[in-house]
Amino acid sequence: MEILHNFGIQPIYLLAQIVNFLIILFLLKKFFYKPITKALEDRKKRIEESLKNADLIEKNLKMTEEKSIQILEEARESAQELITQANKESERISQQALDEAKKTIDEAKKEAIAQSQIQKRQMQKQLEKETLVLVAEVVKKVLGRTLKTQEKQELTSKAITEITKQM
C-alpha cells in the first residue's frame, strides 16, 4: 500500500470526490439534461408539426384553387345555358307575337272582305231598284203608256242582264 500512499490516496478524499460527483450527476440530470433534451425534443416535434401543417396547407390551397376553377366553369356553363334559354324564349315570344299579329291581320282582312261583299250586294240591290224605276219611267215616256205588268218584268230582266253584262 506504499504506492497508494505515494499517490496520496486516502479513503476520505475518495469518498469526498465520489459524493461530489454524485451531486454533480444529480444536479446536472435534473437541471441540465432534462430541460435541454426536453427543449430539443419539443423543437423537433414542433418543426415536424409545422412541416406537416405546411404540407396540409399547400394541399388545401391546391384543392381550393381547383374548386374555384370548377365553380367558375360551372358558373360560365350556367350563364351560357341561361343565355341560350333566354334567346330561345325571346324567339318564341316574338314568334308568338308575329303569329298573333298575322292572325289578327287575317281576321281583319276576312272581315273587310265580308264587309265589302255585303256592301256590294246592297249596292247591287239598290241599283236594281233604281234601275227598275228608271227603266219604267223611260219606257212610260217612250211608249206613252204604262206597261202591263208582264211587259215590265220582261223589260226589266232584259235590262238587268244587259247592265250586268256591261258591268
Binding site: 476520505i12 470526490q17 454533480i24 439534461y33 426536453k38 430539443l40
Partner: protein
Amino acid sequence: MEAHVALAAEKLFSIGPLPVTNSLLTTWLVTIILITFALTATKKITAIPQGFQNIAEFMLESFQDLVITIAGDKTKVFLPIIASFFFFILFGNYLGLIPGVGTIGFYQQPATSNSSSLSSSSLSLGVEDLRAEGQLPVFVPFFRSINSDLNTTVALAIVSLVTTHYLSIKYLGLSGYIAKFLSLNPIFLFVGFLEIIGEITKILSLSFRLFGNIFAGEVLLATASTKLFAFIVPIPFYFLEILIGFVQALIFSMLTLVFMVILTQKTH
C-alpha cells in the same frame, strides 16, 4: 523556482473532520462553475435558444448524437451519466490550464503539515534562505488540476464501474447479471473469471490513464515555463494540453459508455 509538481495533492486546511486538499478545493470550484453554467443555461428555456441555452444545446446535442450511435435506445438512461463524466472531466481539465491554477500558492515546511503554516513568514522567506538552513520548503498551490490527483480519477472510475454494474443488473436482472460471469461450462467459467479480473482492472486503467495524462501535462507545462523559457515557449504545449484535456474526457466517457453497453447486452 524549482519546477516540481508533487505526486500527491497537498492538504490545505480542514473543515471539521474533512481535510481539504487543493485538488478537492478545485473540484468544488469546478462543481460550482458547472452547476452555475447549467442553471444559467436552463433558467429561461425558450423555443428560440439564446445565449447560454444555445451553447448548452449545442454541447448536449452533439454529445447525444455521439452516444446514440453507440447506445441506441438506451441513450436516454446512459446519456446523463456519460455526459456528466465528460463535462466534469472536461471542465476540470480546462480549469487546470488557467494560469494561476497550480502556480499560485505558498511554501510550506515539510515537517509541519499543519495548515497554520500559511503564515507570512514562510512566504516572505526566500528559497535560498531556507535551503541554507537545511529546510527545503514544499510549494503548495492553492488550486490543483482535479485530474492530476489520483483520488479524483479513482473516485470517477469507481462511480463509473458501480453505475455500470448497477445498470447491468437493472437491464438483465440479477440472474442474467450473474450468468455473465458464472457458467457451468468450464471454458466459459474460466472466461467469466477473467472477466471479473477485467472488471477490477477497469478501475486501474480508467483512473491511471486519466491521471497520467493530466499529471504529465501539468509537469510538462511547469517544466516548459520554468526550465525552458516562460514566454512564448509554453504556448504550443498549452495547445497540446487543450487537445489532451478534451481527448481524455472523451476517452473516459466513451469507455464508460462502451462498458455499459457491453454489460447491459444479453448473453447469447
